[in-house]
Symmetry: none
Subunit: 353 residues, 2 copies
């Protein structure tokens, strides 16, 4: 079932039976190299997570390293959920957005869009992102992207992305400390808090909006905020596929609009996430969305691996992994097209056999 977090069910119901493009925003931030900051990936090869995730969604294989990316506690990447749905109710088109990858995905026949971006720096030392430029690239892409389907799912794979998202929200002045998620079951609060403190200390009080996010954000957050604004007058609607990171994208959109004294047609966008985010005790996506000056529809798919035969998949129910690679939006896309939980579990299990 599809549950409403904010708004009404109508936005998402009106997408039933429509074809979706799946855009996967991929980026590396040196923030992920900080010991203990993230478990989104294989220790020592965390920077490969977006590369491996995108290879797996596209082809069903991981090529740049043997074996599917798992967390240290053995939770397989949410890319398995996305791939599972794609094999059962395919997306109309997949586009990989290279927003500063250390290693390109090893795929042919799939479009890897190059935006000329490098991985961003660690926010502990200042991310050093040319934020205005990244934002404008997002705007331009949103203004010009021609979807093959009728709506667009904009997803992400960015290790340490919840840390940069929280730093971004705080750097923009939102009181969001208690609202942010993590790929850990137990949010590594002390490590994260130290990094966030360092990050915020790098902001000069005279810094403007883009100087701030250039210091504490990541390329994905800034680019996707640009995309949302650039696509706002287009004929398609966009589903921001993620949890607190996508909420931070919307907070950045909100701040840009405040500064421009602009407005957005928020009926063109919604947020779609997983039950593990929507029901997370350690984060509060609803509160984050409540900080926006505009109303927004947001949803999650009810789904549980509790009945899975796989020990690794059942770890999701303990709060590991939670979201990423558009898993929540993929579940919703599946439900909008007649899939049920059992079929998705069975398909995901087949990948681990």
């Amino acid at each position: 079932m599809i549950q409403t977090i904010t708004g009404t069910v109508d936005f998402i119901e009106s997408l039933r039976g429509k074809d979706a493009d799946f855009l996967l925003a991929l980026s590396n931030s040196d923030t992920a190299q900080i010991e203990g900051i993230t478990q989104a990936g294989i220790p020592g090869a965390i920077h490969l997570t977006p590369t491996l995730d995108s290879e797996f969604v596209c082809t069903g294989c991981v090529r740049s390293l043997p074996g599917v990316a798992t967390t240290p506690s053995g939770v397989p990447t949410p890319a398995l959920v996305t791939r599972g749905v794609h094999t059962l109710r395919p997306f109309k088109n997949i586009e990989l957005l290279n927003l500063g990858l250390q290693k390109l995905p090893d795929v042919t026949f799939f479009n890897i869009r190059d935006f000329g971006l490098d991985p961003s720096g660690s926010i502990a030392d200042g991310a050093a992102i040319e934020a205005m430029e990244v934002f404008e690239k997002g705007v331009e892409f949103g203004q010009n992207y021609e979807p093959a389907g009728e709506y667009v799912i904009l997803a992400e794979s960015v290790p340490s992305g919840t840390t940069t998202a929280l730093a971004t929200a705080l750097g923009l002045g939102y009181e969001a400390t208690e609202c942010f998620s993590s790929s850990f079951a137990k949010n590594p609060a002390s490590i994260k808090a130290g990094v966030i403190d360092s990050a915020l200390a790098n902001i000069d009080s005279s810094d403007d909006l883009f100087a701030r996010v250039g210091t504490v954000a990541d390329n994905m957050l800034i680019f996707n905020a640009g995309f949302v604004l650039g696509a706002n007058n287009r004929g398609f609607r966009t589903l921001l596929a993620g949890g607190t990171q996508m909420a931070a994208v919307l907070l950045l959109v909100n701040s840009v609009l405040r500064q421009m004294r602009g407005s957005i047609n928020s009926s063109k966008i919604a947020l779609a996430t997983t039950p593990w985010i929507a029901n997370d005790q350690n984060s509060d996506i609803k509160a984050l969305l409540g900080m926006l000056d505009f109303d927004i529809n947001s949803y999650y798919a009810t789904f549980s691996f509790a009945k899975s035969k796989s020990d690794a998949l059942r770890l999701y129910e303990k709060g590991e992994a939670k979201e990423g690679v558009g898993a929540g939006a993929a579940l919703i896309h599946g439900y909008l097209n007649g899939l049920d939980e059992a079929a998705i579990i069975q398909r995901v299990e087949s990948f681990l056999a």
Copy 2:
């Protein structure tokens, strides 16, 4: 599951969720009248096989003769598989290509493209095909066909087609004797060998490429080779749907390119076939594709009727029938759109009830 024969999985994975046109190249060759040469059809009415196959794929009925075409041992035509997938995950458009039918399919509302071609002669006596003209018609069609979907499946139904395909490969100088399939479980080697010998004896050593294939091929092989070359600069990709016959189409493409000193963008084409061809002990599709001067992606769908309740369908697992009417590509199209083996078996069985 989709298995790779040659190349990588990327070509076919990138077609997931895309709509397909199903083009069915239909032709008669008097070669099929040679006693014992083929079992692709009803004894005494073998020439009706492409007519009946196309009626069944389009409408679910056979009209030009009562009852579904079966082999003498009772194996139903692979058109059942194609029809089964089409009823579950429909093709966007079906086009029937009349490349010299003795009897037109009895269908309305479906497009039967007329290319002004007559059935070709028996290769035992010289097929007497105006090969250059047929080839040019294929090129022109490939250059101009406007697909309704995003990729094109090019399939065939041509009784005695594996015999003319082998003669074509040999006539073009490929050492392919051991590589070719047959609709029989036991390849009727002695009859076939005699016909092939007669066919090759009709080639004059001074004959050019088109004179050779005009003597030993069939209209489908020549037309489809033209289509592949004509469509090579178009915006869509083509899946050659068949086994050793479609490999022979590619060998002809290869010979044309050698003579023209031309090249092909082989990323625009792939071959898709059945497991009964891919795993056939009496033919070697991989070896045939290895004779090409260009690389090509090729695939088969894992599928088995072993669990079918139908005795007739289980005969497929004994090597009867094997491929035709795009059955292998249809299975792949189904798998690319979320179908599984059980659903396809159940649907095909329903046609026989």
